[in-house]
């Protein structure tokens, strides 16, 4: 029995091989390079020192985290509402909803930036409409600010999160809601006390994905703000593809910082899941 069990480890092999070749090794190279100064030399922490002392990089870390948190929270909220709604209606409506979600999840990068420019940019359609109808908030809307960016980020978070959550909502057993009703509970009680806690692991997991997705988003925000809005991925890219010189050490260090932030977020959410799981037994 034990030999057979270890035999199953072989099934893990292809996964690890692919991950090693195309993820772990390039990653380690980035990590190693981050400890080498750009001018040549040996092990040093100077890249990290630059990151934590230069205002530009401090700002980018702050901005990245702010926008990612805001857009992920908003995204997950809307996604929970959407997935719950999709769970309630079945059949045709649900299928077309998922179809649209899937189609729209491809809508990112420059096309998305361009669409928002036409909508809400300086000469945007909605801006002109606001001007004619006298709606000040539309007329004065500034797309090229952190607020405008958040709006655009939320847009591409929604389809991703909803699509990931719909299968989890589908797994909620009908018996649970029925027993809750039989015992005299209301609809909202069922959702608050039973369904959402059960779904918490998946919701938190999806939140982490949203966070990482927002943190690493580059093409869309670059198209709208170029390098003028300090964000981590923009700074990383400009260290690799600037006009003056490439600084792989600094870029590598910034990448390590970004990865650490995501790692911290994942750890926090895992701790949260464990705490919540204490009271909930899924196999009941």
């Amino acid at each position: 029995m034990t030999r057979k069990k270890y035999g199953y480890l072989l099934a893990l092999l292809p996964f690890f091989v692919v991950a090693l070749m195309y993820e772990i090794i390039p990653l380690s190279m980035v990590l190693i390079k981050s400890f080498l100064p750009d001018e040549g030399g040996s092990f040093t922490l100077v890249n990290y020192k630059i990151i934590f002392t230069k205002l530009l990089y401090q700002r980018s870390i702050y901005n990245s985290m702010k926008i990612s948190l805001i857009s992920s929270l908003a995204g997950i909220l809307i996604a929970v509402i959407g997935a719950k709604a999709a769970h309630a209606i079945k059949g045709r409506g649900k299928v077309s909803f998922m179809l649209i979600l899937n189609m729209v999840s491809n809508f990112a990068g420059i096309p998305l930036a361009f669409a928002y420019m036409i909508l809400l940019g300086n000469e945007g359609v909605l801006v002109h409409m606001g001007h004619y109808l006298g709606i000040a908030s539309l007329e004065k809307f500034q797309l090229y600010t952190s607020f405008g960016m958040s709006i655009v980020y939320i847009y591409f978070q929604i389809p991703l999160a909803t699509l990931l959550l719909i299968p989890s909502f589908d797994a909620l057993k009908k018996e649970w809601s029925e027993s809750a009703q039989l015992l005299g509970g209301t609809h909202s009680l069922y959702w608050r006390k039973i369904a959402i806690p059960v779904l918490m692991p998946e919701i938190l997991g999806t939140f982490c994905i949203l966070f990482a997705n927002a943190l690493a988003a580059y093409a869309t925000v670059y198209a709208l703000m170029m390098s003028d809005f300090p964000l981590l991925p923009v700074e990383i890219a400009s260290n690799y593809v600037g006009e003056i010189q490439t600084r792989p050490g600094l870029g590598g260090a910034l990448s390590v910082v970004m990865m650490s932030i995501i790692a911290v977020m994942i750890t926090l959410s895992n701790i949260l899941i464990k705490k919540l799981q204490k009271g909930v037994s899924r196999r009941g």
């Binding site: 996964f15 692919v18 997991g205 690493a216």
Partner: protein, 269 residues
């Protein structure tokens, strides 16, 4: 219950409209020559005409689709196998696999492409082939999506119970896996695969850095056109969306027939 259903329908409608507005705008933009005020002027489908008569566009579409198939297939298989073993036999490995799968989020785009390129280009064997590098890079990029979808799916069904019952009825490990578990998480797999396809379709940086713009996939074609004529580029984009929609619809309708069968079976209990 019907009242709640109405509310739910309204929510879904609101979300769908919000998501479709930018797409609709792009479509309208592609159909008019000039849009400087509230209403567009000069209706013309010349953008679409130019796109359809452009052979490069067709090649770009085909290239994109071809580039999707291998990475999605490979990643699905390896993640399924790995998570299967992790869930049933070594639950401790789950977190380890999750860590590996979440990493690609932070090394997207420029970093991944530059590091893969610089590492493999000097190795003079099959791995330095550009398309191999691109394939590998794509496999890694879609790992998080495939992982999360399959993980959610496996969490939702009770794997050990199912496996035990299957084994009690005489099925071997692998057989039980493929015939029992996989069909149950098929939804998740399909959803993740479609998401992954979207990612690969939308990729620009990896193709540009690894294979160069000589290998024109859809995004590169789009960006080249965008530089010269944004109306034509919008037309291209609308067409891309339509294609995605059709492929997804086809996949869903195939699956839908399966699922209706499942529902009926469950109903009898």
């Amino acid at each position: 219950m019907d009242k709640t259903k109405k509310y739910e329908r309204i929510w879904i409608l609101i979300i769908m409209i919000y998501l479709l507005i930018p797409l609709a705008i792009t479509m309208v933009y592609s159909m008019f020559q000039k849009w400087t005020k509230v209403l567009p002027e000069k209706f013309s489908l010349s953008g679409y005409g130019a796109v359809f008569s452009d052979k490069l566009f067709l090649y770009a579409v085909i290239r994109s689709i071809v580039m999707c198939i291998i990475p999605i297939a490979v990643t699905t298989v390896i993640v399924l196998l790995a998570l299967f073993v992790a869930f049933v036999y070594f639950p401790g490995l789950k977190k380890f696999i999750q860590m590996i799968c979440m990493i690609p989020y932070s090394i997207q785009g420029v970093i991944l492409s530059v590091s893969i390129l610089s590492f493999y280009v000097s190795v003079n064997n099959i791995f330095s082939n550009r398309y191999m590098m691109l394939c590998g890079a794509y496999c890694v990029i879609i790992l998080p999506y495939m992982f999360q979808g399959i993980y959610n799916g496996m969490n939702a069904i009770e794997m050990s119970t199912l496996m035990e019952s299957a084994q009690m009825l005489g099925a071997g490990g692998m057989y039980a896996f493929f015939r029992v578990i996989v069909p149950n998480i098929a939804t998740s797999i399909f959803v993740s695969a479609l998401l992954a396809m979207g990612i690969i379709f939308g990729d620009y940086v990896l193709v540009r850095n690894l294979t160069g713009t000589a290998f024109e996939n859809m995004q590169i074609y789009l960006y080249q056109i965008m530089k010269t004529d944004s109306v034509k580029a919008s037309a291209v984009f609308v067409i891309i969306m339509m294609i995605t929609f059709c492929i997804t619809a086809a996949v869903f309708s195939l699956k839908g027939k399966e699922r209706i069968g499942h529902h009926k079976k469950r109903g009898r209990k």
